[in-house]
Symmetry: C2
Subunit: 411 residues, 2 copies
């Protein structure tokens, strides 16, 4: 009898993570998998045997189309890190997991996620080899942060970059409307890597003057220099729009948002919430320069804007899911699918397989040579890199004026 | 020789204010106006003789289509209040304005804006009558706030409401992803009227559980009761999503955001900036209840999201512009065009004319009978009212992956 497959989603959601789920599901079915199970809330849910049978949830082509257009993780997510299996308590977790997988007659295991999730795939594949399991474990890349090694870019980034490019254009139109002195500071996600903030550079076009400054976490931040730059820029142009990463750091390593008085109040659990960077900078500029300021946090919207996705991104998200299924059925395990750019004009991209150890727990930063000498803008190399990833759209299916989603109430 | 027309935009921008500009322009041209001038930055710009000739800027049908799809005020905006013309200093301003209008050979004057802008139309029409001017002054309604009297709704509201409905659905999908205790508080614009915040109710559908609480400025806010409601709700459902107006007030009349320590720092000019309501409430809930919280300010995005507009709204914005031109050419002055709902099923809407004194400086609130007894949700009456306004879409014209705009660099 054909083995079953199981797929989970982990880490922060994206607009296109469900397209990868669709790719895994359809490719597994077409390759003759038995059932395709979904883990509810990733490995954490699986450990509680919280699974669904996707075959019972996805009924035909319209559901697949809706799944591709539904933002956030259809199966729910988790931020669970598997323990080291070399300790007795650790191994108990793996024994429990593999017992559940055996009971479900799983032959193929897929995990859609970022570098933390790839750690999970690596550990499961290692332990599987250790006990002689035949289950194949494959990683499917996903993160708006675009910080995975090995792959040219990650599914999820293109749509988030497109969202950022679009709303920066709209914010620039809005910010210039009164013709008065105004500094708008837009805070964009990215704790250590500035890929998302860099995407603000895409707003510049023949119909848009573009943003005036881009501040990445890769470049040490100096508050005085920042204010001086704003002052200089405002002499030429009253309304300045600045894109700043939530993760910009001072030369001493502290996050800029730690300079704000109230930042620690945000999270009741003592987590250092990286929010308030734009607000702190807007307040500082307002105090030091004779100008109105405004801060805008793109917040969750940049990762869940299913109404505004890149068709290129959706297609690639689907492809990496399918490529992972193909690889697993061909006997691969402990690997992640990567996207390989073949050419820029015309844009072409293929997939390849890489051992998980080249990906898990590592971070890819924005190359510093893609930032201009003044540390205010991205070079053409970045534009050439990012522009193909935001091309084309996948129109939502609107029902009663709103994009329709597919939705699993128990997830 | 045919008289010329002039049109200006004033107050806060919307996603569809340029559709009204297109309506005024095309209707004036088809009725035989000479030139159609645009005021750059409204009446404030006109007083400095800052005008453009729209005939030279809008070349054919594609430019009109782009104009309909370009958010924020194409001509720039202002927040200028005309003085009382019964004083000598006041009258000097009017003398200057009318001299400029005479020099430009203006016969028809249009102002697209909200209740403050209608004050401008009222004063100009009064002064025009006083000096025997033949210029006709017509108001074209515009505001995302939907707070204008006389009209069933205002152009700009439908698109902002659609944007809010769409992103609330997306935020709800995102907020439930971990299955853990989470309170998400979304801050929505509206200083005194809760029309925009009410639109969060539109997110509820067969594919979405909807928001859990809606807090309008029309209903006095009590922080303790709010926290109690959240606590009660979280017993049934771990992830709670709340829409709160930036303008919610305590029973003693203070804005809730004034309770936050740092709110006064935001604006260097001493303006009481109504921001920080969601942040304050998220911090309060995190401190008092054992839950993670998050705040999201929709900020400028809700008024400038040209990529996500209601086609119904764009069509009506165009229509009120055209109806204003028609009225002016037929001899009307000192009036505003209103939208009159004829029926809900099928949705039909016509226009009518009203004296400016019925509109200027007045505010229409959300009827309290459209809020449920618990003050947490909107009734079906509100849904029936708002749902037709968000129907259908006007697809952006995408160029290189981003919506293309039409843009006046000098505005």
């Amino acid at each position: 009898m054909a083995k079953n497959a199981i797929v989970g989603q982990s880490g922060g959601p994206t607009s296109v993570i469900n397209a990868s789920l669709a790719g895994v599901f359809e490719s597994c079915k077409s390759r003759g998998a038995g059932k395709v199970y979904g883990m509810l809330h990733g490995v954490a849910g699986l450990l509680e045997r919280r699974v669904c049978v996707l075959d019972d949830k996805l009924h035909g082509a319209l559901d697949i189309e809706l799944l591709k257009r539904t933002p956030s993780s259809y199966l729910g997510s988790c931020r669970y890190k598997l323990p080291d299996w070399h300790t007795p308590e650790g191994e108990a977790v793996y024994q429990k997991l593999f017992a559940i997988l055996q009971e479900l007659e799983i032959g193929y295991f897929f995990y859609i996620g970022g570098n933390d999730s790839m750690d999970t795939i690596g550990k499961l594949a290692d332990y599987g080899a250790h006990i002689g399991s035949e289950i194949r474990f494959m990683g499917v890349p996903k993160t708006i942060d675009n910080d995975l090694m090995v792959t040219d870019h990650t599914p999820g980034y293109g749509s988030a970059a497109k969202y950022i490019g679009v709303v920066m254009k709209e914010i620039i139109r809005d910010a210039t409307v009164y013709g008065t002195k105004y500094v708008t500071i837009v805070e964009i996600m990215g704790r250590n890597a500035g890929w998302l903030t860099s995407a603000a550079a895409l707003a510049k076009a023949e119909d848009c003057e573009g943003v005036d400054m881009i501040c990445l976490p890769e470049v040490p931040f100096n508050v005085d220099h920042f204010v001086e730059k704003v002052e200089r820029m405002q002499k030429a142009k009253p309304s300045i729009v600045i894109a700043v990463s939530e993760g910009v750091k001072l030369e001493d390593g502290r996050y800029v948002c730690e300079l704000a008085d109230d930042v620690h109040a945000v999270d009741a659990f003592g987590h250092k919430a990286l929010t308030g960077t734009a607000r702190f900078l807007a307040n500082t500029v307002a105090r030091r320069l004779d100008t109105k300021t405004r801060c805008i946090e793109l917040s969750t919207l940049q990762r869940c804007a299913g109404h505004l996705t890149s068709r290129t991104d959706i297609t690639e998200a689907y492809q990496v899911g399918g490529a992972a299924a193909k690889a697993a059925f061909e006997g691969h395990t402990g690997e992640m699918v990567a996207l390989d750019r073949i050419s820029n004009a015309p844009y072409q991209c293929g997939t390849s397989l890489h051992p998980i150890c080249e990906v898990a727990n590592l971070e890819k930063k924005v190359p510093l040579e893609w930032v201009n000498a003044d540390h205010t803008a991205m070079t053409q190399d970045f534009i050439d890199y990012a522009m193909p990833l935001i091309q084309a759209e996948l129109t939502p299916i609107y029902v009663e004026g709103l994009p329709h989603h597919i939705y699993l109430p128990e997830a």
